[in-house]
Symmetry: C2
Subunit: 151 residues, 2 copies
């Protein structure tokens, strides 16, 4: 695993070299690519369901089927498939964001809740959701302006 990032001065404009070297140093700290775990987590947050799942789990502890219905109510147009809900919850559990509790009953009772770490993540997600919503008018405006030129 290569952790040292070499910036060849000849490859970049003089005024950007220093800043790039600083960023490169940031990205290569601690013997691992510091950009990788963030990218993985941000990819989760940006996928079809995870950020919504986290917001619903902020409410409390949910059984699988109830959670599926709650997501369907919030998403409206398309419900999450049972298979994907299982996949998403497992990924969150794997990274320590969600705790899974199952009983040996028949039929099974499985419930999910946020861990402290997952609660933090959900709060970060909520922060990002609010940030975008506060700026959505500007974003949508930029979009229509962009789409109307040329074409």
């Amino acid at each position: 695993m290569k952790t040292k990032i070499v910036i060849d001065p000849d490859d970049f404009p003089q005024d950007l070299r220093q800043g790039l070297a600083v960023l490169a140093a940031d990205m290569a700290t601690h013997g691992t690519r510091r950009i990788d775990p963030p990218r993985e987590v941000m990819a989760m947050m940006g996928d079809r369901w995870t950020s919504l799942i986290l917001q619903v789990l902020m409410i409390g502890t949910w059984r699988h089927a109830d959670l599926k219905r709650a997501l369907a109510a919030l998403s409206e147009e398309q419900a999450i498939s049972q298979r994907v809900l299982t996949l998403k919850l497992r990924a969150l559990e794997r990274d320590g964001f969600v705790a899974r509790h199952a009983t040996a009953d028949v039929p099974p009772r499985v419930s999910y809740r946020l861990t402290p770490l997952g609660t933090e993540l959900a709060q970060e997600g909520r922060r990002m959701i609010d940030w975008v919503n506060e700026r959505s008018a500007a974003i949508l405006q930029a979009r229509t302006t962009f789409d109307q030129r040329d074409d």
Copy 2:
């Protein structure tokens, strides 16, 4: 476009209904699904390149080819293709996060820089990167623990 989200009491456990109704109200405010623009932006931030592009653009104003080289240096294993870089920059430009400046020269000189809104977004991204990095040890620990049970 349906903005009112109806929560049927019979569908959910009593202790979760109230919280779900509150969340549903949050998600349906302002005559549009408030969850949609956030999901779009978060999807961008979570894709293969956008968050890294934003961090590099924080340094200054970049020409297309220089930016491509900078991303390659930071990413190491695989360079972004020229086609995808164009796509990502255009998406950022469309939403008002990046400003594109082109001269009529031959060969063309095209440069990209963050808008004020884009600078904010890059800072949010940096915040998220740092947040994950501060917790990456815990996340990786949870991952190995999870992977070692069963199998």
